[in-house]
Symmetry: C2
Subunit: 428 residues, 2 copies
């Protein structure tokens, strides 16, 4: 039964978060489990007290743990370690990628921010830790999500660690690796015969039902908190570069939210006095797969409206055909003078292999999309090859093995003897 | 052609390592690429200058990076960051596992040291980083190994990051996940029609040939350096417990080396004055699979000799039928008053699931072996349920998905509508 109860609120005293604010019309609401504006139906995000953010110092951050909670003073929840619902993700490696830069024709440093190093091996652990920490404070007693796979892994694992029941909703055609890696944690797993967009719509309906009143859907009713976790990627890159913002960043886009939040993190660091911006500002670049490119298409067409598509192709973790934050991603790219590019399945596979060969980082398909997009952006002259660039790898190659399984394998197969090795040419 | 050249030596000035020393007869050798004693054919290990180890302080360590190199002052190589050949593994989570303790009937704290968090998602990154850093100093220009899978992943990834050619030798019947995750890095991968023990023997022959004079086999000719990397697991556990050694540790055994080195690390910390031992000392427990249990069998039989077996079963990363450090593992377990247990394939699968359900950690089969062994050790009264226990998970469940793929999956499969969810019972 659909009910119209007020959204649960909670005491967020001590957090720098002040209100929920509509990204469309600017209307403010108290901090609650609410994600859409009652005035204009626009998405809500967290509004912070600028004075609270400005109190955070580099020294405080450096004294914190080597995970996202070192930035607790910049997050809506989790300042008290006892409050956290978390696998303690974050502070993942920022890897200098000289050989990749050389291969793609860049002359300035290229870095890979490798979020496959998170506990469930994708950047989703960041957003889930923040969302569930807020959800606990808001009184929810079950955790849920709509997911293309990585989020499912993360929510199920977080719930298992916390000893809280979970129910995760996925499209039935997900990669086997992502299904097993969710189901093994023992929560409920609901496979929906439909696309991610169908799953997402269904969860938006469920959140309004009495039966799910106790349930935090991390990317629906507590989405404003969830999205804030992505900012930690921006904070970390700046800190790991010695408190500098890079001139260029290349970011994969599904809903488009990750891109907008990394950009927002950079702005906040400048406003909080923690870093100086680069002389010419920073430029934000987005990457999608050719099988799901609605934001890239809108940029190329010069329009603000993102027309939904029916996703295809191997980059399933990016297959959101109706990207909620698409217009905001467009705005960030346009404002900063960046651009976007897409990659087809063959380019994605080659992107995965190029990254592995040159850096020792094995990325999932989304990482292949981003590396391929970087290649295209350089080739097309959209990205300055003489400016420092950070590329974001958001997930692990072990989750999408099928993407490259047919392309790579043993170089030799031989009998166990020196004679066998010589005959096969292994001895040179 | 087999040649008899002197083993390459190098200047290890600045390192606390002083000599290579035979674990059999105690003969000492200069630091070189040598792994066996010329007197008794016993294995060599690193001998340190105790005064150098004693100079390392907790404060120095705490000021180091959040990876194994914070213990560089206790390692044979890598004190200068510029010398390191490394993916910077280590400082992985030590996770308090109250729900697991409750399920298995332990009344004192149980912790899981989760080495699936390393860059290539197994503890092998630790040993490979130390081995290749030493190998570079010893002048080698190609990296190689004999591997049951995890080591292959790690050597190939390290070589790719360093821009050094690699050649990795594996049994041809490895899990697909481990083959792809090695091949993707672009080095040479040689699949041998035989067991790991066959592969290992072959590499021991190759290392003596002219064609492989330039090649460091991490677990053959630079094995003494390699093995030392495992000590960082012991250092980390002690530091993460607030500079305490736990009363009991449960460790998976393949060659048996990991167990001996964690035990050695605890002794060294005590000798260096960095920790006090627990009042009753620490007890070391070992775990093998029922399909490859030669060390467990020797302990049960009360003998020092380990009789090789032909391995079977799903725990392939532990399938070393002729374990080189078996006698030393037996000695450590007997000296400390510990014990060993084995787990069959069904118990391994249930061990994986129990760990995932209770901690949110998805382990590979070796982790399942260890959790299952803990259960057995408690049940048989070998392990004290009232003493603090640390369990080591050495690899990631994503690498051995097949082990549980048939056992877990979606709880529901439904059409994308509220009506469909209600009909399926999802709404409760």
């Amino acid at each position: 039964m659909t009910v119209a109860t007020p959204a649960p609120t909670a005491d967020f005293t001590g957090s720098p978060a002040r209100v929920l604010v509509c990204r469309g019309c600017g209307t403010e609401y108290p901090l609650a489990a609410q994600h859409a504006c009652w005035e204009c139906f626009g998405p809500l995000e967290i509004g912070y007290d600028p004075a609270a953010l400005a109190q955070v110092t580099r020294e405080q951050i450096a004294a914190g743990p080597p995970n996202i909670w070192r930035y607790a003073g910049l997050l809506p929840a989790g300042l008290d370690p006892a409050d956290r619902v978390s696998l303690d993700p974050g502070f993942t490696p920022l890897v200098r990628a000289d050989a990749l830069a050389a291969e793609l024709g860049l002359r300035a440093p290229v870095w890979v921010k490798d979020d496959s190093a998170n506990p469930t091996h994708s950047f989703k652990d960041r957003v889930v830790s923040v969302a569930l920490t807020a959800a606990k404070r808001l009184g929810f007693t079950r955790f849920a999500c709509a997911s293309t796979g990585n989020l499912a892994n993360s929510v199920a694992a977080h719930a298992a660690r916390a000893g809280v029941p979970s129910m995760v909703f996925i499209p039935a055609d997900l990669e086997a690796g992502k299904v097993v890696t969710t189901a093994v944690y023992g929560g409920d797993l609901v496979a929906i015969d439909g696309s991610y967009d169908d799953v997402n719509r269904l969860c938006s309906e469920l959140v309004e039902t009495e039966e799910f009143e106790d349930t935090a859907f991390v990317n629906v009713n507590v989405r404003p908190y969830y999205a804030e976790g992505s900012r930690t990627l921006g904070f970390e890159v700046a800190e790991q570069l010695g408190w500098r913002i890079p001139e260029q960043v290349v970011i994969p886009m599904a809903s488009g939210e990750l891109l907008t939040k990394i950009d927002k993190a950079f702005s906040e660091l400048v406003e909080a006095g923690l870093v100086e911006p680069p002389a010419g500002g920073w430029r934000v670049f987005g990457a999608q797969s050719a099988g799901c490119n609605p934001i890239v298409t809108a940029l190329a067409a010069g329009v603000d409206e993102v027309t939904p598509v029916k996703p295809t192709g191997i980059a399933k973790s990016l297959n959101i055909g109706d990207p909620a934050a698409g217009p905001y991603a467009l705005a960030a790219v346009r404002r900063t003078g960046g651009w976007m590019a897409e990659a087809d399945d063959d380019e994605i596979r080659e992107g995965i292999r190029a990254l592995a060969r040159t850096t020792g980082i094995f990325a999932e398909t989304a990482g292949g999309v981003t590396v391929a997009a970087l290649r295209t952006l350089v080739k097309e002259g959209r990205l300055d090859p003489a400016a420092e660039t950070v590329v974001f790898n958001t997930g692990d190659g072990l989750k999408t093995l099928d993407a490259v399984a047919g392309l790579v394998g043993p170089t030799y197969r031989v009998k166990p003897s020196l004679k066998g090795l010589r005959a096969a040419g292994v001895m040179g």
